[in-house]
């Protein structure tokens, strides 16, 4: 599946996703900068992304654990998600997301 990731500089990258991979892992494996310091266990909020409003139905809603962790992120919008909590499947082909502040590697 194809995914479109806008980095913190505004550049759009077309990357490849795979079933059962976390969106965070797909972004990291494509060598795009994403901090994700807890390694994908919903424990740090440094893989924060904005899901394109047109794609919201593809990813569903954040659960309570993810909402709690989003409390530790900044500049949240109604499209905020933690990319480690989106597990890719066929429904995500064409998903567009933007890396959010706080996801940068320092």
């Amino acid at each position: 599946m194809k995914l479109y990731v806008t980095d913190r500089n505004g550049t759009v990258h077309e990357i490849q996703g795979e079933d059962e991979l976390q969106l965070m892992e797909a972004i990291r494996d494509a060598d795009l900068p994403i901090k994700a310091e807890c390694g994908g266990s919903c424990a740090c909020a440094t893989c924060h992304v904005y899901v394109d409003p047109a794609c919201k139905a593809m990813v569903g809603e954040a659960d309570e654990d993810e909402q709690d962790m989003l409390d530790l992120a900044f500049e949240l919008t109604e499209n905020s998600r933690l990319s480690c909590q989106i597990v890719l499947g066929p429904q995500h082909d064409g998903l567009k997301v933007t890396l959010a502040p706080g996801s940068e590697i320092d």
């Binding site: 901090k35 807890c38 409390d71 900044f74």
Partner: protein
């Protein structure tokens, strides 16, 4: 085990920077070889990432432990290393490294002024020091330590202040309850009207709001106003995107911790992409006598697994022994059969 803060150097055999699982297990491997250790960690307790990020999260890949949490792993390691009586220096960051004047040992100074001296230094610092997350607000650096804080050291400092507390976890709610009686005014700001903090403290906060003793704003931080490091107000953005100004002279922001490498980067260890290259025989860095084990090192084929760090600790300890006891022969022994090792473990 004691935690002393003293400017007179404390001498030991090995200094371990980082009290995460790998730093803790290094105490065990060193201890079997009669190498005593002091540990320095910026957190106030052992466990590193296991304590800070994953205390309740499951770990499934520790050999012979099909399942445990980060906290259980930490607790078990603490039990395992108890016979070796390590000395912990918690809540301190390893800040400065130099050779002693007689060139026989490393001298490590922490940001709390503790001075440690040992012939062996082991960096087991994982992803770096846990430091508070800084809200991405323009110019926030100039307010830090003057009117913007990420921790409360002395409550008295906040008496009579107009305080804005940001966050929705235990730190934010606990300090809201504790500082409200001292403050001239207190406002809690959180992005949603739900709190992950302990329900009792949340109820306490709601009662204070009900009684008109403090305010609760559902909004996010959007900007700072003030001059020369002194806040006069914080700009907040509500869920509709409306920005409004909240007058205050103190901001306490509690958004958890993040890892930063910190002063270790200045230790002259040829860092590559924030990792310390080591050999795979002794896990020694480019500087003899300084080792790096666990997530912070790099070598061909490196996997950032706790079990890899344990292996690295065992091999590192062999070389550490030769540095601490240059004239002694090292005999390889098993804990199962060696009464000498069993004595050290206190089981013989």
């Amino acid at each position: 085990m004691s935690d002393t803060q003293d400017s007179a150097p404390q001498k030991t055999d090995a200094i371990i920077v980082g009290a995460g699982p790998v730093g803790l297990f290094a105490v065990f491997e060193l201890g079997l070889l009669d190498v005593k250790a002091h540990l320095v960690d910026i957190l106030d307790r052992p466990g590193g990432q296991c304590a800070e990020l994953y205390p309740e999260k499951p770990i499934y890949d520790i050999p012979a432990l099909p399942y445990c949490t980060g906290q259980e792993l930490t607790d078990r390691l603490m039990e395992q290393i108890k016979p070796f009586d390590p000395v912990f220096h918690f809540g301190q960051m390893a800040e400065k490294l130099e050779r002693t004047q007689d060139d026989t040992a490393w001298r490590l100074t922490t940001d709390a002024g503790t001075v440690l001296e040992a012939p062996v230094l082991i960096i087991a610092a994982g992803g770096g020091s846990f430091v508070p997350k800084r809200p991405p607000l323009q110019g926030i650096e100039e307010y830090e330590g003057k009117s913007v804080f990420y921790a409360v050291r002395k409550m008295e400092q906040f008496r009579g202040k107009n305080i804005l507390i940001a966050g929705g976890g235990d730190s934010a709610l606990d300090w809201t309850a504790a500082l409200q009686p001292l403050a001239e005014s207190l406002t809690l700001v959180h992005r949603r009207d739900e709190f992950r903090a302990a329900p009792a403290t949340v109820n306490e906060m709601r009662a204070l709001v009900e009684a008109g003793k403090m305010e609760l704003k559902i909004a996010q931080l959007a900007g700072l106003e003030g001059e020369n490091g002194q806040l006069s107000a914080v700009r907040l953005k509500d869920s509709e995107g409306e920005v409004f100004t909240q007058p205050c002279d103190t901001l306490l922001a509690f958004y958890g911790l993040t890892m930063k490498l910190g002063p270790v980067a200045e230790f002259g260890l040829n860092l590559h992409e924030n990792l310390i290259p080591v050999d795979t025989e002794k896990f020694e860095t480019s500087t003899p006598g300084i080792f790096a084990i666990g997530d912070i090192n790099s070598y061909p084929g490196k996997l950032k697994l706790i079990l890899s760090g344990f292996h690295e600790a065992a091999l590192m300890a062999q070389q550490a022994f030769h540095i601490v006891y240059p004239d002694k022969k090292l005999r390889f022994q098993y804990t199962t059969s060696s009464s000498a090792l069993q004595k050290k473990l206190g089981v013989a």
